[in-house]
């Protein structure tokens, strides 16, 4: 077991090293070793639970596979493996060009091949970490290595997407760092549990929670910090988008689950209020992203907004851990299933966007049905999606949170509309031929994995609940409703001649003030430089002036010395006269 654990974390690094060695000798290759980067981690997740310690590691290393990290690692590693498989087919044409001597293509692929396993290594490390340093290391490694995956195509859009990603990622790192310092400093803790404790007992706990929520929220697409998602996803290669939207944004969610004191006894009223704010923000994201997302032109942008919307629902569910602590033990296993299902479904959908651009010569109905399957599951009306949605709902029902259930059901209408919009856009941008077996294999396996999530994922107990027929109808009606709404919207849009909206919504709003601030800083710096130069000149002038006077004074001394005897005489005479005058009186 320990051996597998070490392998799971080291194997991706070995793969990266091996890729480096290959690059020195020739061309990048998507060979078996490269595909296997995530396999040991996958094996580890299915072997069972365990805990490891190594005090020499950074601030004291602690890792564990528990109820939470085990399923998390399983779906993450599986998605990475399938996306890698897909990537092999996806980059086939590019690889051929590279082998024919296209230098630029070769360099791009080299970067991808090298940074893919590194990004995975970070992702896997953060999942199994129980100490802050390892978690932060994994998070940072994943975040920064993934930059190359987003930038891959190097077009103007890709640069913009990558820049948006990086700017927000750095801001997020700053927020996380501040939150971790603050919360860990209370107890001088170095473990995740210590941070939770710190937030719970400190009077300023709510501010720490806010910092961490926002910091991880950059990844998880909290409303306002989500702008990188719709900019980065459409430009990244399909396998990269799949892991970005499936696995990596889940890392943000995992950050909340491990750092926030969810479901703990003795939450302060401020923390409960914070939970309510989080709930509102989550629901707002769920609805607004759906509204904005259906108006996108690019299918991957639609999917990005769908991710924001889904993560909004998850935010709302996580918030319940602060609002109702009795609900939390029932709810969190459902959240794990929900997250795992969304990860794989979203992964399959993103991989599908590359399939629809290179359609295989299958019967049309079959292909499009397969493309629609993960989407249907995502809406909660089909396959594993039913169980994923119902398991969460079941817990909410038991504790009588009816309004929230209603809102989540309404949000599912948005999900259906988004999935419909994505397929519709894919249909408009379809193309036949040029695909590859690996591409289809990765995608097909991802669909199968999506539809069967509850059966293979090593879930914690009590996480799967099977709905009755009546509840099934409640789960299913958002699908036709969403599709109808979408159709009505499309018809209305055509009548009014509406154009698709620009991806990245608030990014364009943030841009102007940000550019203004930069210009302001430049202006201030220019002024400061001028002021400094002036003051240096002034002090130099002052120094010259002082020195001249000093020299003149010293010259005066020379004059005194030269006329010393004469002056002494004058002095003596004066003294004598004074004495005489005194004596007379």
């Amino acid at each position: 077991m320990t051996l597998v654990f070490v392998m799971a974390l080291l194997w991706p690094l070995c793969v990266a090293l091996r890729s480096t060695w290959q690059l020195v000798r020739g061309y990048p290759a998507f060979d078996l070793a490269w595909l296997s980067a995530a396999w040991p981690a996958l094996v580890l997740a299915f072997l069972g639970e365990g805990a490891w310690e190594w005090p020499a590691w950074m601030l004291g290393g602690q890792w564990a596979l528990d109820d939470l990290s085990r399923p998390w690692l399983a779906f993450t590693a599986l998605l990475w493996s399938l996306a890698a498989l897909h990537a092999r087919g996806y980059f086939k044409a590019a690889l051929t060009r590279a082998r024919q001597g296209d230098e630029e293509q070769c360099y791009k692929l080299a970067r991808f091949v090298l940074l893919w396993p590194l990004t995975f290594a970070g992702n896997a490390l953060l999942i199994v970490s129980q100490d802050i340093a390892s978690f932060y290391l994994g998070f940072a490694l994943m975040t920064f290595a993934a930059y190359a995956l987003v930038l891959h195509d190097r077009t103007d859009e890709a640069r913009r997407g990558a820049r948006a990603y990086l700017v927000l990622a750095v801001i997020g790192e700053g927020l996380i760092l501040a939150g971790l310092f603050w919360a860990a400093g209370q107890e001088q803790a170095s473990t995740l549990a210590g941070v939770r404790e710190g937030i719970l007992i400190s009077p300023q706990g709510v501010w720490m929670a806010l910092l961490l929520w926002l910091g991880f929220g950059v990844k998880a697409g909290v409303l306002g910090l989500h702008v990188w998602l719709p900019l980065a996803h459409p430009v990244a290669p399909a396998p990269a988008s799949a892991v970005l939207s499936g696995a990596m944004i889940k890392a943000g969610l995992l950050g909340w689950l491990v750092f926030l004191p969810l479901g703990e006894e003795g939450l302060s009223p401020a923390l409960v209020a914070f939970g309510e704010a989080m709930l509102v923000a989550g629901l707002a994201a769920a609805f607004l992203a759906a509204l904005y997302g259906v108006c996108q032109r690019h299918p991957k942008a639609v999917l990005a907004y769908s991710s924001i919307s889904q993560m909004g629902m998850l935010t709302a569910l996580v918030a319940m851990g602060l609002i109702d602590i009795e609900l939390w033990p029932l709810l969190w296993p459902g959240i794990v299933l929900f997250a795992g299902h969304h990860a794989l479904a979203k992964g399959a959908l993103f991989l599908g966007t590359s399939v629809s651009e290179h359609l295989p010569r299958w019967p049309r109905a079959l292909t499009w049905a397969a493309l629609a399957l993960p989407g249907l599951s995502l809406t909660g009306a089909f396959g594993a999606g039913i169980l994923a949605k119902y398991s969460v709902k079941h817990a909410l029902e038991e504790m009588h949170h009816t309004p929230l259930i209603l809102l989540l059901t309404l949000a599912a209408v948005g999900t259906s509309a988004l999935v419909g919009a994505c397929l519709w856009r894919q249909w408009h941008q379809r193309d036949v031929g040029g695909g590859d077996g690996f591409q289809l294999a990765g995608w097909g396996l991802a669909i199968l994995a999506t539809l069967s999530v509850p059966w293979w994922l090593p879930l914690p107990e009590e996480s799967v609940h099977v709905p009755s027929l009546a509840s099934f109808v409640e789960l299913a009606w958002p699908l036709p409703a969403g599709v109808l709404l979408l159709a009505a919207g499309v018809w209305l849009g055509k009548r009014l001649g509406a154009k698709p909206l620009a991806a990245g919504d608030l990014w364009w709003l943030y841009r102007r003030p940000a550019l203004g601030v930069v210009a302001l800083c430049a202006g201030v710096a220019k002024r400061a430089r001028r002021a400094k130069r002036a003051s240096v000149e002034r002090s130099l002038a002052l120094e010259t002036w002082a020195m001249t006077h000093l020299t003149r004074a010293l010259e005066g001394e020379t004059w005194l010395r030269r006329h010393g005897s004469g002056l002494m005489m004058v002095f003596a005479v004066l003294l004598a006269l004074l004495l005489i005058w005194e004596g007379r009186g």
Partner: protein, 503 residues
């Protein structure tokens, strides 16, 4: 083992002094002999300092002292704090010597260079091991003078001007420092760091005077530590050859100032007295201003070395800030940063020098695609840059973590804000460089030409330039990844801090 191996600190000091004398007495053309002496002395010194480290960890404190005139002693003492700085300087001296031999291949005046280089390291070691203020002052001034020829080594107009500025700053600072020492001596009649009674007994009657002396001492040292607004000489001294800049920024001059401040606060005044006087809070504010100002100025630099110089200004103040947090965690952070910053900054300067030598790169916008042409150097640079940002697994993260925890412990939340802001600013000026190295198309991809390309070696550059950078980069990674191992910077810093707080 004997109780007191008095010869040990003296021998460690003498090794490089003897090397300096030998180099000065050899003719300019005796290159192989000089190289052997240089490397031999550096290796010897590492061995001696390693022995000292071992002795200190066993609980010995080797002291060498003799009386110069009545009441004034020359004392060398190998205590935990001093040995820490000595270890850093001896290891980095070895790396820098190797680098300098490669760097100055075929250049003029190598004899002068290596002679003063050895003297410079002698003084640094003297500062590390100085057992009282008097000895400290001697070596501190010796450092000023032995560095001057190195700064002006190129002999150009610009170099001479920079040297003049350097001397103006450091010599006037020396006078201020001397004034402080004299006032203190006239008050106490004692100039030992570790005086038994401490200065506490003067607190009631001479509070103002103690504060004044503190201001004079720290003010004098702050010039070398490049604390704003006394930092003006450092960016100008960038005209020095790369190995000198590396040594200047990582160990010798800048660190000597910071180390002096550590000595003053921990050993001369004692941490409680400093806190009672209220000087630590003032110093923390000044250090924070320096951290932010240095980072802001670094962003505006278009050339690589000045950017690194401003980054040093910012990073060295972390050490001072950590001390001023007045708590074990802040202290550990400060002491670990003394070592970690040295390792990371020396890496960055080695790489900057290699870029300049191999490709003629001086400006940041010339660095496009250099990662392809010089992959190992660029990897080392990337590690150093990420370390400066404080990202794990580099050593920079460890210090930042302890400083952050220390700030919370001291209930100074604004320090956390400063740390986070500094992280963001560091990202702002280091990430674009990393981006250019790895993601931009440059001459290595057939776009444009390097300013002045030379093929110095079979590998990406001369092996003597490459391996020191790779070694220090690995060391700064190791210092972060395996921070929990015995004799790692963190572990040693913890040992010193425990000694300070739990006597």
């Amino acid at each position: 083992m004997t109780e007191n191996m008095a010869w040990l600190p003296l021998a460690a000091l003498a090794v490089s002094l003897v090397a300096a004398i030998a180099i000065f007495s050899l003719p300019e053309t005796a290159r192989p002999v000089r190289t052997v002496i240089n490397l031999g002395a550096a290796v010897c010194k590492v061995a001696l300092v390693a022995l000292m480290v071992g002795r200190v960890s066993l609980g010995f404190e080797d002291t060498f002292s003799f009386q110069i005139i009545g009441g004034i002693d020359f004392v060398l003492r190998a205590d935990a704090l001093g040995v820490m700085f000595a270890g850093l300087s001896s290891i980095l001296w070895l790396c820098t010597t190797v680098y300098a031999i490669g760097y100055l291949e075929g250049a003029a005046n190598r004899k002068r260079f290596f002679g003063f280089f050895s003297l410079c390291v002698t003084s640094t070691l003297g500062i590390a091991l100085a057992g009282n203020l008097f000895t400290f002052l001697i070596f501190y001034e010796m450092l000023t003078l032995s560095t001057y020829p190195l700064v002006v080594h190129a002999g150009t107009q610009k170099a001479l001007a920079a040297g003049k500025v350097y001397l103006r700053y450091t010599l006037s600072a020396g006078v201020v420092l001397l004034l402080g020492v004299v006032i203190l001596y006239s008050l106490t009649g004692d100039q030992s760091f570790a005086s038994e009674q401490g200065l506490d007994r003067y607190l009631d009657d001479h509070r103002g005077l103690l504060t004044l002396v503190f201001a004079l001492l720290v003010g004098g040292l702050a010039v070398k530590a490049a604390i704003v607004p006394l930092h003006g000489w450092l960016p100008r001294a960038m005209v020095a050859p790369a190995p000198v800049s590396a040594l200047l920024h990582a160990v010798a001059v800048v660190k000597a100032g910071a180390f002096g401040i550590l000595r003053i606060i921990y050993d001369l005044y004692g941490i409680e007295l400093s806190a009672l006087l209220g000087v630590t809070t003032v110093l923390a504010v000044i250090a924070s201003i320096t951290i932010l100002y240095g980072s802001l100025r670094a962003i505006t630099q278009a050339e690589l070395k000045p950017r690194l110089a401003y980054s040093t200004i910012s990073q060295v103040s972390y050490i001072v800030l950590g001390v001023c947090l007045v708590g074990p965690f802040g202290t550990i952070g400060a002491l670990a940063h003394l070592l970690n910053q040295g390792l990371m900054k020396v890496t960055l300067f080695f790489c900057a020098g290699s870029y300049a030598e191999e490709l003629g790169i001086h400006r940041i916008d010339e660095m496009n695609g250099a990662g392809r042409r010089m992959p190992l150097t660029s990897l080392a640079f990337t590690v150093g840059a990420l370390g400066m940002m404080g990202l794990p697994p580099t050593a920079g993260f460890i210090t930042k973590w302890y400083l952050g925890i220390g700030a919370i412990e001291a209930e100074m939340l604004w320090v956390v804000a400063v740390l986070v802001a500094s992280t963001l600013l560091n990202a702002l000026y280091f990430l674009p460089i990393v981006y250019r190295l790895w993601f931009c198309q440059g001459p290595a991809h057939g776009v444009g030409q390097w300013p002045d390309e030379q093929r110095l070696g079979r590998l990406e550059t001369h092996g003597w330039l490459l391996w020191p950078a790779v070694f220090t980069a690995l060391a700064s990674l190791g210092a972060g990844l395996l921070a929990g191992l015995p004799f790692s910077p963190l572990e040693w810093a913890t040992r010193v801090a425990v000694g300070e707080y739990l006597p």
